[in-house]
Each structure stands twice: as C-alpha cells, then as structure tokens.
C-alpha cells in the first residue's frame, strides 16, 4: 500500500511540476467549457439571425408583400439581390441559402391550393445543408401563413374564374359553389391545424453557379480533413524541434558555421514540405478513392504552399515557447483545436452565437478551409478570397518573425 501510495504521489508531483501540464489539465477544459457553453447559447446576446438572400423575379405587389412579411421574422435577415449576385454569394460561401421567387408568383398564388409547389424555390451552399434544411421548414411556414392570410381572397378569385368558365352549366356551377362554401367553412380548421408540410413543399437544390461543379459529400469533408492533417504534422514538427533544443543537437548545429537564420529557414522548409506532403496525400486519396475534383489546380497548389508556410510559421511560434516535448505537443494541439473550433472546423459557424461567429473571422483555420474550398470546388476567384489569403500570409509572417526572435533570445540569453 505504501509503495502504491508513493508511486501515486510521485506521479502527482511530476504532473504539477510541469506548468504547461497544469495548464492543459485545468485551464483548457475551462476554456473549452466556456466556448461550448457559449455555443449552446450560454451567453445570450440575442438569437443570431440567419442571412437569407432573396431574388424577386416576380416583382409584383404580392411578392413584395411576401418579402415584407419575411422581414418581420425575427430570426431572418433578408437581403435582396439579383440572381447572378445571389448565386455568387451562395457559391462563394458568403451566404448559406438563396430564395428565388419565380415569375408569376403573385398571379399564381390563388391556384397554389391545387399545386404542392408554390412559386418559390431555394438554392443552397452544399457545405451548409443543415442551414438550408432549417430554412426550408421556416420558409414553408412563412409561405403557408402568407397564403392563409390571403385565402379568402384566393378562393374568391378561383370562384370567379370557375363561374366564368362553368357559370352557364348549372349542374357544375352548383357543385362548385357548394364546394367553395364548404371550403370557406373549414377555413378556421386550416388556421388551427398548422401543417404546411401537408400542403406545400419548397423545392431546394444545391447552388448551381454556372462555373461550379456540384460537389459531393467528400468534396466538402476533405478540406477539413486536410486541416486536421496539417495540425497533426505541425504538432509532430513542434515536438521534434523542442526535442532538438533539449538533446543538444540544435546546439551542435548552431556550433557549425551556419547562421540562426539558416537553421530556422531549414526547419521551416522541413515543416512546409511535411505539410505539403499531407495535402498531397490527402488530395490524392480523395481524388482517386472518393472521386473528388479540384477545379482550380494551380490556385490549389498556390494556396497549399501559402498554408504550409503559414502553419509552419505558427509551428515555429509555438515551439519557441515550449520547453518540453509534452508542452510542445499539448500547446500545438490545444492552440489549433481552439482555432479549429473557432474557425468552424468543429462546430458549424452558423450555429454559433453572434459574438462567437464574429471570432471565426479571425481564425487561421477558418481562412485555410475557405481558401481550400475556393480552389477545390467553389471555384471562387482569387479576389473573392483575397482577405483570407492575405490574413493567412500575414499571420504566417508575424508568427515566423516573433517565433524566431523569441527563439534567438532564448538560445543566446
């Protein structure tokens, strides 16, 4: 018993001596808990609105009225755009869903009762199918309410039309009139039994940007897979770097006629090549096994190089602070997990509360996913992902500079 106890005490001591270890054990779970709590609405800063872009091809009073009603919905933020702009916005991942109001939406509204397809349809970003499904339900309800509101009027319109056609044949006319009377009577029932799904459905399809192939599920999952691969490679590299600092091989290299600049560049290059290999292998597998397609091969290569540089810079930054292998690995994983979480790599950005989804704008992981998607299947132009490209580059450069400076200082102190 005494021996067991001694071993346990020794282990506890070992853990608590390593400050970074304590950080991972205690502080990190707190950070995660706070973030996840925030994600589940722990900090209510008002519910987040979903942005919906509406294309009004009808341009009638009816469609205007419908849009006006949509605007009243507290969980929607409505933008009106023309079809080309709207498709670009959705295709580039800016906005998850577009709602198209077809021509003659207003005119055909009365007859909607005989058709299950109202004159509206949706197109969505395939990587945000969950948002589109949520919106599909919401829009269906909106449409149903809108349709109900005008139901008495619709009925009288139809009635008039019938009367015009069949008014001269009394038998038919009587039957039809009877039917309409009954319908009028069951109107309250319609209102009461709010089951729009029984009556209508809104067709929805993956966005068809003219120059964008429609992606399969693996097209969407593979950029994220690449990111995780990169994070793994980065952690391995950070560990090996710290290892070299501690076992004397770095000192030996520094004693050779080489400059610190050369050593750091060599490390950076090694890390970049590793990351590029990860990207290549992932791409190879997903292309040949899961038949994904890369639409902009050259840009994809350019972005891959950029990402390998940027993440290597971050690796250098992290490993310049880490003192032990454990802290190097822990630090890299947790920093990147956090960035991944905030960058939409773990929780869909859409479901984050407002303040949190703001933060995702500043996550290198988010930027990386964005530019990979841009060249892999979104077929976005360079200018459309310029901010992400720029920030990724700047982050890489800053991390590289600060990491090198810290390293230089710690080595020569």
């Amino acid at each position: 018993m005494k021996i067991i106890f001694s071993i346990a005490v020794k282990d506890l001591k070992l853990i608590f001596r390593d400050k970074s270890g304590v950080f991972f054990i205690f502080l990190f779970p707190v950070i995660y808990a706070v973030l996840f709590g925030g994600f589940f609405g722990g900090f209510s800063g008002g519910a987040k609105k979903t942005v919906l872009v509406v294309v009004d091809n009808d341009k009638s009073d009816r469609s205007a009225e419908f849009i006006k009603n949509l605007r009243k919905n507290p969980s929607l933020e409505i933008l009106e755009k023309n079809l080309i702009t709207a498709r670009n916005n959705v295709g580039n991942g800016k906005i998850p869903v577009l709602l198209k109001i077809e021509k003659n939406f207003g005119a055909n509204l009365p007859e909607s009762i005989f058709k299950s397809r109202p004159g509206i349809s949706m197109e969505y970003d395939p990587s945000k199918i969950y948002v589109s499904q949520m919106l599909q339900g919401l829009l269906l309800k909106e449409f149903y309410n809108f349709w109900l509101l005008g139901l008495p009027e619709h009925i009288s319109v139809i009635r008039k039309r019938f009367t015009k056609t069949f008014g001269s044949t009394p038998l038919v006319s009587d039957t039809v009139n009877q039917w309409f009377d009954q319908t009028q009577q069951i109107l309250p029932l319609f209102r009461k039994h709010n089951s729009p799904g029984l009556m209508f459905s809104i067709p929805s399809s993956v966005i068809s940007k003219p120059d964008q192939s429609s992606p399969g599920p693996f097209d969407i999952s593979f950029p994220q897979g690449i990111i995780w691969g990169i994070i793994g490679a980065t952690a391995v590299f950070a560990v090996s770097f710290v290892n070299e600092k501690n076992n004397g091989t770095l000192a030996r290299i520094r004693a050779a006629p080489v400059s610190l600049w050369q050593i750091i560049s060599g490390k950076l290059l090694g890390s970049m090549i590793t990351i590029l290999m990860v990207i290549f292998v992932m791409t190879f597998i997903s292309t040949f096994i899961f038949s994904t397609v890369i639409t902009q091969v050259v840009w994809f290569a350019v972005y891959a190089i950029l990402m390998s540089f940027s993440f290597s810079g971050m690796m250098l930054f992290v490993s310049s602070f880490a003192k032990t292998e454990q802290s190097a690995s822990g630090l890299t994983w947790s920093v990147f997990m956090l960035l991944a979480m905030l960058g939409g790599g773990m929780i869909p950005v859409h479901f984050m509360p407002e303040w949190m989804s703001e933060v995702t704008l500043y996550s290198p992981v988010g930027w990386a996913i964005k530019i990979l998607e841009a060249s892999a299947w979104r077929n976005s132009t360079f200018t459309e992902v310029l901010p992400q490209t720029f920030f990724l580059l700047i982050t890489g450069i800053l991390c590289f500079i600060v990491g090198s400076a810290v390293l230089k200082k710690s080595l020569e102190k």
Partner: protein, 281 residues
C-alpha cells in the same frame, strides 16, 4: 590559437563564469578541469559561439570572433550530451553534420570513412544510433565533430560512461589528431586522463580560475607534500603530509594501518588539494 580575455557569464543573477583569462597555444592539448558546476561547459559554449559572454572577449585562430559563423569553421565541437540523432544511422548522422559544417561533397565520402574507422564504427554504420551502446554513441558523438577537419577540437567530457577499451581508443584518436597538428581542448573530471593527455591545464572552481599551469609544474611545484597511502581495515586512505614520518608514527600509535606506501603525486592529488573535498552542487 585561442584567447579568453576577462570572460564573465552571468545567468540572470548567478555568475557561472567569473573573469577568466587564458590562452591556448596552437598544437597543444589543453585540459579544462574543474568540479561539477565549475563553469566548464558554460565556458566552452561561449568559445563555440553558442552563448554570448556577459563581459570579455574571445578570440580564435588569430583574433576572430566565434559568434561569426565563418570563424566556427575552424571549430569541432563535441558536446557533453549525446547530440546525435537516434533515428538516423551512424552514416546519416555523419553525413548530416559533415554537410552543415560545409564539407564539400567531393571530400564527404572520404572524411566519413576516416571518421568511421577512427571511431571503430564501420561495421555498424548502417544501424540507427538509437540502437548503439553508450560507448558507441560517445564515439559517434566525437566522430560527428571531426568531418570538417577543424583546427580546434573542443571535447566536453567525451569519455563519460565509456569502458576502458573505448576510452583508450578515444585517447589514441585524440593523440593522433594532435599529431596532425590540431589544437585540442579537453574537459574532464578524470584527472588521470588529463595527466596523461594534456600539457597545460586550467582548473576552475565556482567560475574562477584557481590554477593555470603545466601539468608537471602543478604536480611538482604546487603540491609540496608527500602522499602516503595506508590500508586501514578494509579501506585505503591517502594522506597528504609535509612530514611523512610523523604521520606514519601517529598512525602506528593508533595501531590502525595494515600496510602503507608512499606513492608518486598525481594531478588528482593536486586537484583535490586545490578544490577541497566538499561536494559541489
């Protein structure tokens, strides 16, 4: 070959090396001695340009600064720790350290085979260093510093944990290199090694020089005492004394010793006399 002028190194508030001035002549084997924590490795790290002296100046090969990377071409540094890559084979380790030390591709092969034969690792050259025994690792650790044929070879405790066979091999290597005209700085705790190899030595303690002289001067002039080795019970003790007869009488009176001998003084006697018996921390 090497000159240290008033070198001081302060780590935050702790002075590890305090105002050391010495010079090492071209072509000699110079011993850098001192108890644990004396500041030997710190000094050597400064000589190799790994640490910046807080104060003072280091000049190598006729007045060049080791923090300049060109100057370091002249230095072969064997660190105290085993600074080799366990995942790489002996050959790959040697090739890597040869390359970063600027060995031209043409010469690399012949230099590597020379280093392999010197360290006796030819047969194991394709094995990963991680699978080597302690002694083999030590030898590889030395070999990695020799590929660029440096003029100044600095060895920081190269024989720790090495059996007598390997140790002798290492001594032979060092003497061989010295015969080729290399200057050698040798750090060790083993005084018999220093006595065997070095002409001049410096002994430092707590960062300060306490002796800087030739080995023979230290042994014959510094310690003006006779060494008696007496066997008492199961123990052998050595006594340094000015008056051996009186000391022996004293011992006999207590009827303690079984046998005794008066032996030649060694560098170790001088070292212990100068640095005392207190354990360093």
């Amino acid at each position: 070959m090497l000159q240290l002028k008033n070198i001081t190194k302060v780590f935050s508030s702790f002075t590890a090396v305090n105002n050391i001035t010495l010079h090492v002549n071209t072509g000699e084997i110079f011993g850098f001695l001192g108890p644990n924590g004396a500041g030997k490795s710190t000094s050597i790290n400064m000589i190799c340009g790994l640490l910046k002296p807080t104060e003072g100046e280091i000049l190598i090969c006729g007045g060049k600064d080791p923090s300049n990377s060109e100057t370091r071409k002249a230095i072969g540094y064997v660190p105290q720790s085993l600074a080799i890559y366990n995942e790489l084979t002996a050959l790959e380790n040697l090739r890597f350290f040869g390359r970063i030390n600027g060995v031209p591709q043409k010469l690399l092969k012949s230099r590597i085979s020379k280093a392999l034969s010197m360290t006796g690792l030819e047969r194991k050259k394709n094995q990963p260093a991680g699978k080597f025994s302690g002694g083999m690792k030590r030898r590889l650790n030395i070999g990695c510093a020799l590929l660029h044929d440096p003029e100044l070879i600095i060895l920081d405790e190269p024989t720790v944990g090495v059996d007598p066979q390997s140790r002798n091999r290492i001594f032979e290597n060092i003497q061989e290199l010295n015969k080729e005209g290399k200057t050698i700085i040798y750090t060790t705790h083993y005084m018999e090694e220093a006595q065997k190899l070095c002409k001049n030595v410096v002994i430092i303690d707590a960062g300060e020089i306490i002796a800087l002289d030739s080995v023979s001067n230290l042994i014959h002039n510094r310690l003006d005492k006779t060494v008696i080795e007496a066997v008492i019970g199961n123990q052998t003790i050595s006594i340094k004394t000015d008056d051996p007869v009186k000391e022996l009488e004293k011992l006999q009176k207590n009827n303690k010793f079984k046998s005794f001998q008066i032996r030649e003084k060694t560098l170790e006697d001088v070292f212990l006399d100068l640095t005392g018996k207190k354990i360093r921390d």
